[in-house]
Amino acid sequence: MKRIDAIYHVRGKAEYVDDMPLPAEMLYAAVFASTVARGKIWHGSKTGIFG
C-alpha cells in the first residue's frame, strides 16, 4: 500500500521531534509522582518549609 508520505521518508525529509531545532529559551519539564498523598502546592520554593 502506497503512502503519501513515503516520498519524504525515502528522501530523509520527514521531520521527527529530534530533528527540530530547539527554540531559544526553551523550558524543560519533568514529571514525577508526589510523595504527599494530600497537600497544598506552594509556589516555586525549592527550599521547603524550613528553608
Binding site: 513515503a6 516520498i7 521518508h9 525515502v10 530523509g12 525529509k13 521527527y16 529530534d18
Partner: protein
C-alpha cells in the same frame, strides 16, 4: 591537538575545526543540521545512522557503507561523506522509488538508513546484484514497523530492474539514476583536497611518540584515546571521546594488511574483520572463517572493526581473541623504537587489563603456519544469532593421526574475566583417542579450569553447561566418523 579536517560532504567541500573525536553522526545532526541521518541506538545496531564514505584507492573511487555513530570525524579527512541528502535528486532514485512503490515505509525513521545501505551495496558490488546480496546488505538495518516483507519485495524489484546491468562503475550508476550528477567530479575534487591536518596524521602515524596523556587544555588533562576502528570504544566511551584528544591509527598504512613469509602469517593490527575473513592465508588456516565471521557484529561493522582492536579491548568474550588464542598467536608491541613480541597467551591479565604498557601500540599479530594439517573449529552461543556478544564462545586447533590426538589447543571466552586458553584441558587430551570416554574424562578438568559468573548472558551454571557442550561440539563437528552427539546423551 586539533587541526582542520578537509573533506567533501555531499556536494560541498568542507573544512572543519571540530574535534576529530566526535562522531560523524553528531557532526551531521548538530553542526551541519543534516537531520536525514538518524540517531537510533548510537551503538551500531540499528543502521539508522548509515552513511557512505568514499575514498580514492589509486584511481578508483570506492564507497564503503559505514555507521556514522561509530565513525570519528577525523576519519573523514580526504574522503567523500555521503548522506541521504546527498543522494537526493529531482527524481527519486530507483532505490527510493522501489521503496515507495512497494509501501516499504511506515514511520520512515529507518528508511534513510535503508536507502543508504542499498545504495552502498550497489556501489560496492563486484558482480550482479542478487536477492542474497540485498538481504546481506540489509543486515545493517533494523525496521520496527514494516516487518521487512515490503522492503524485501522492493529489493527483489531492484534486482529485476538493475541486475545484469553490465559494467559496474560510477558512471554507470550515475547514468542509471542511482547517484546524482555531481558524483562525476568527485574523484578530481578529492585529489585537490588539501592534505588535511598533517599533524593529525603525523601524530597517529608516528610510533615514536610515547606520550599516553595529552597536554592539558584549560588545565584539565584530557586522556588520549588511541582509536583503530572505534566500533567498541564509541559504544563504551562515546561521551568522553567527544571531548578527548584522539589518535586515529587508520592513518598508519604500515599496520594494515596480511602478509605471509612461509613460516608465519603476519596480520597487521589494523586488519579489519572483513579483510581477515577474506584473506586466502586465513581461509586456508580456518576453512569455515567466512561462515563464522557472520556471527560477529554485522557486515558494515566488520569493515571497520580491527583484529588489534578486539585484542586490546580485552573483552572476556572477544571473538577474534578466542580464535587467536587457539592458534597461539604472538603480539608485536611497539613504543617509540622499542619493539617486543609477546605471546597472546598470558597477555590478558585481568578483566579488560592487558600486558600492554600505556605507551605501546599493538602493531602486528603473528600466527605460525602449521607444519602439517590441523583441524580448526569455532563455536559461538549467543541469544541473537547475529550482531550479538557471545554468552560462551570457543575455538579449537587440533592435529591427529588416525583418531589419536597429537596436538590440541582449546580456547574459551565468557567463562572467566579474560578469554582463556584452556591449558589443562588441552594437555589432558593430548595422546588420547577421540572417544566419548576421553572427552568425558576432560569434563571435570574443564570445569575446574573455568570460573564463569552469572550476568545478562546467562547464569554461571548455564555457562558451565555451555562450556561442556561446546567441547563436545568441537569433536562431533570435526570427527563425525569417530564420535556422535548421541554418544554423550547418557553421560553426566
Amino acid at each position: 591537538m586539533t587541526g582542520q579536517i578537509h573533506f567533501i560532504l555531499n556536494e560541498r567541500t568542507v573544512c572543519t575545526s571540530q574535534p576529530p573525536g566526535i562522531t560523524v553522526l553528531d557532526y551531521l545532526r548538530s553542526w551541519e543540521r543534516l537531520t536525514g541521518t538518524k540517531e537510533g541506538c548510537k551503538e551500531g545496531g540499528c543502521g539508522a545512522c548509515t552513511v557512505l564514505l568514499g575514498e580514492l584507492q589509486g584511481s578508483k573511487l570506492v564507497y564503503k557503507t559505514v555507521l556514522s555513530c561509530l565513525l570519528p570525524l577525523g576519519e573523514l579527512s580526504g574522503k567523500h561523506l555521503v548522506t541521504i541528502e546527498g543522494l537526493n535528486k529531482e527524481q527519486l532514485s530507483p532505490i527510493q522509488q522501489a521503496l515507495v512503490d512497494y509501501g516499504a515505509t511506515q514511520c520512515g525513521f529507518c528508511t534513510p538508513g535503508i536507502v543508504m545501505s542499498l545504495t552502498g551495496y550497489l556501489l560496492a558490488s563486484e558482480k550482479d546484484i542478487d536477492e542474497a546480496g540485498i538481504k546481506t546488505a540489509l543486515n545493517n538495518n533494523l525496521c520496527r514497523c514494516t516487518g521487512y516483507a515490503a522492503i524485501k519485495l522492493a529489493g527483489s524489484a531492484l534486482v529485476q530492474s538493475l541486475g545484469n546491468g553490465g559494467v559496474r562503475n560510477l558512471e554507470n550508476w550515475i547514468d542509471k539514476g542511482i547517484l546524482p550528477e555531481y558524483f562525476r567530479d568527485i574523484p578530481s575534487r578529492l585529489r585537490q583536497l588539501p592534505r588535511t591536518a598533517k599533524r593529525l596524521a603525523e601524530g597517529a602515524a608516528s610510533l615514536t611518540s610515547s606520550r599516553s596523556l595529552s597536554e592539558s587544555e584549560n588545565g584539565k588533562v584530557l586522556p588520549e584515546f588511541i582509536i583503530a576502528g572505534g566500533t567498541d570504544l564509541y559504544v563504551q566511551q562515546g561521551d568522553i571521546l567527544a571531548e578527548s584528544t584522539v589518535r586515529l591509527l587508520n592513518q598508519s598504512p604500515q599496520m594494515k594488511g596480511i602478509t605471509t613469509d612461509g613460516d608465519f602469517i603476519h596480520i597487521g593490527a589494523l586488519t579489519t574483520f572483513a579483510e581477515f575473513a577474506n584473506h586466502p592465508a586465513i581461509i586456508k588456516l580456518i576453512p569455515h572463517i567466512q561462515e563464522y565471521i557472520r556471527r560477529i557484529a554485522s557486515w558494515s561493522i566488520r569493515q571497520r572493526a580491527t583484529v588489534g582492536g578486539n585484542i586490546i579491548s580485552a573483552s572476556p568474550i572477544g571473538d577474534i581473541s578466542v580464535l587467536l588464542l587457539a592458534l597461539n598467536a604472538d603480539l608485536v608491541l611497539q613504543a617509540g623504537d622499542n619493539v617486543r613480541k609477546v605471546p597472546l597467551r598470558g597477555f590478558f591479565r585481568g578483566y579488560k587489563k592487558t600486558g600492554k604498557e600505556p605507551a605501546e601500540i599493538l602493531t602486528e599479530i603473528v600466527v605460525s603456519t602449521p607444519a602439517s594439517a590441523i583441524k580448526f573449529n569455532s563455536e559461538k552461543v549467543s541469544k541473537r544469532q547475529y550482531l550479538d556478544c557471545a554468552a560462551v564462545n570457543s575455538a579449537i586447533a587440533i592435529r591427529c593421526t588416525g583418531d589419536t590426538i597429537l596436538e590440541i589447543s582449546i580456547s574459551m571466552g565468557g567463562v572467566a574475566p579474560i578469554p582463556l586458553f584452556l591449558k589443562q584441558t588441552s594437555n589432558y587430551l593430548i595422546g588420547n583417542q577421540v572417544t566419548q570416554e576421553a572427552i568425558a574424562g576432560a569434563f571435570p578438568i574443564l570445569q575446574g579450569e573455568i570460573s564463569p559468573i552469572g550476568d545478562i548472558h546467562g547464569s554461571a551454571s548455564y555457562k558451565r553447561l555451555l562450556a561442556r557442550q561446546l567441547l563436545i561440539a568441537h569433536f562431533t563437528k570435526l570427527f563425525p566418523g569417530f564420535i556422535a552427539v548421541k554418544d554423550f546423551y547418557e553421560t553426566n
